[in-house]
């Protein structure tokens, strides 16, 4: 097991991160092509919206898996976390854009929906929480903020992931299994962090750097 993890880590170290960005950036264009040629079914707008939203949530969850994988299995995916997070944000932003431009279309209805519909309010809030994280996902911001503050800021992703999953649970009709699995997954990933670093939530941002994330 130990050996296998070492081998995988060794292989991962040699892998470049740029293909993640390239593939991630191209996927929505592939969806768009599918949508224009009948590949997304007879209601391509909702399908495109749902695929982007779900992929965004999946990538957000993937970024939350990086720390537990390293802590419990010794698997080091840290180099890929920024790419996963940024691509996830890109999908969520496009999900929002499809909702605004292709789905709702009507400006007055958009505002009414954001204010009146709790699942949309929650989704918007999750998106807004991700904006500063996306803007500071670069080495310059990391240096500028300092590692501790940067980590503290990026703990907003915990809340964003919970809100994103709740948004999914709330928008479906009835109690469907799939969104509940996502919510359960997010909560489990957060609980893992609580157990191993119980004081994480209470120590100040100026405390010495922790191995959290």
């Amino acid at each position: 097991m130990e050996n296998m993890v070492q081998t995988i880590n060794g292989a991962l170290r040699r892998l470049p991160t740029w293909p993640v960005y390239v593939i991630g950036l191209l996927v929505p264009f592939w969806f768009l092509w599918l949508g224009m040629t009948g590949g997304l079914g007879v209601e391509p707008i909702k399908e495109l919206e749902h695929r982007l939203g779900e992929l965004g949530l999946q990538l957000l969850i993937a970024t939350l898996c990086v720390t537990p994988l390293r802590r419990f299995l010794g698997l080091n995916l840290l180099r890929f976390r920024r790419a996963l997070g940024l691509i996830g944000f890109y999908y969520i932003a496009l999900h929002l854009l499809v909702w605004l431009v292709l789905d709702v279309q009507i400006l007055s209805q958009i505002w009414a929906d954001i204010l009146k519909r709790p699942y949309i309010t929650i989704g918007m809030l999750a998106f807004l929480l991700l904006v500063p994280l996306a803007l500071t996902s670069n080495n310059w911001s990391l240096r500028r903020l300092g590692a501790a503050s940067w980590r503290r800021l990026h703990q907003l992703s915990y809340l964003a992931a919970v809100l994103g999953a709740v948004h999914f649970v709330m928008l479906v009709k009835g109690w469907q299994l799939e969104p509940l699995v996502y919510l359960g997954g997010v909560l489990a990933l957060l609980v893992m962090r609580l157990r191993t670093t119980p004081r994480n939530w209470f120590v100040s941002a100026r405390a010495p750097a922790r191995r959290s994330g």
């Binding site: 079914g41 007879v42 209601e43 929906d113 709330m170 479906v172 009709k173 299994l177």
Partner: protein, 300 residues
Amino acid sequence: MAGRFKSDLKWSDVTPEAAFLDRRALLAGGAAMAAGLALPRGARAGALEPNTLEEITSYNNYYEFGTGKTDPKAYAGGLTTKPWSIEVGGMVEKPGNYDLADILKGKSIEERIYRLRCVEAWSMVVPWNGFELKDLLDQVGVQPGAKYVAFETLYRPEEMPGTRYPVVPWPYREGLRLDEAMHPLTILATGIYGKPMPNQNGAPIRLVVPWKYGFKSIKSIVKITLTDKQPPTSWNTIQAREYGFYSNVNPNVDHPRWSQATERRIGGGLFSPRIETQMFNGYGDEVAGLYAGMDLKKYY
């Protein structure tokens, strides 16, 4: 008795099968993209063109086969619809287990081109084949005190993979007030485009109530019960605030989670515009009288 209702959509409005097959061939060809962009269907002013059979049969809500829109098409193939019978009971003169053939005997099947408005704010135009529910109710004889009609969908877990998970309590139940059930617009449909009802659309026999949200039009009916009390209906049972017993299409009463003011007609592609939802789904002239004096914000 046929011919009591005259549709504003004519049989000539239906896309001929050959034409929609041509359209599919075109799609397969790849010139499709340009053609599709040039003429987004929903955008044609005022046109009420029925959806293609392909569209009607590949975008369905039939949770017994899964909650995804394409799940019914993928998983309903194994549904056994022969033999089929409907248990008619409650306050009727002639209760019993009626074989489908006995139900269809003497009924004239006619074409009804109806708008179908889903509570999720999408819509289609469907050329149904069926007969008026009233004809069946007259056949079995409604007792004087009966006020409501309750319906149940087949619940057969071994053929319905979606029932493994309790999204709604199975079997699916729906109900109508007796005057709604007796209204000439209310039909039991047995086909689409002159073909037997596809499984994913509620084979072999389903209700169609065009002025109500689609979930009222219960599929694959196995039980009809006349009663003097308002029967429990599935969505109303689990989320009464969102799904009322009446559930008439009403652009002025929003679903708590989304607006009902507009809808998207299926088939318009990626740039399909929203269209305004009509009161009673455009059947107000025929049915508004059923609700005279009722506060439709209260009885949603």
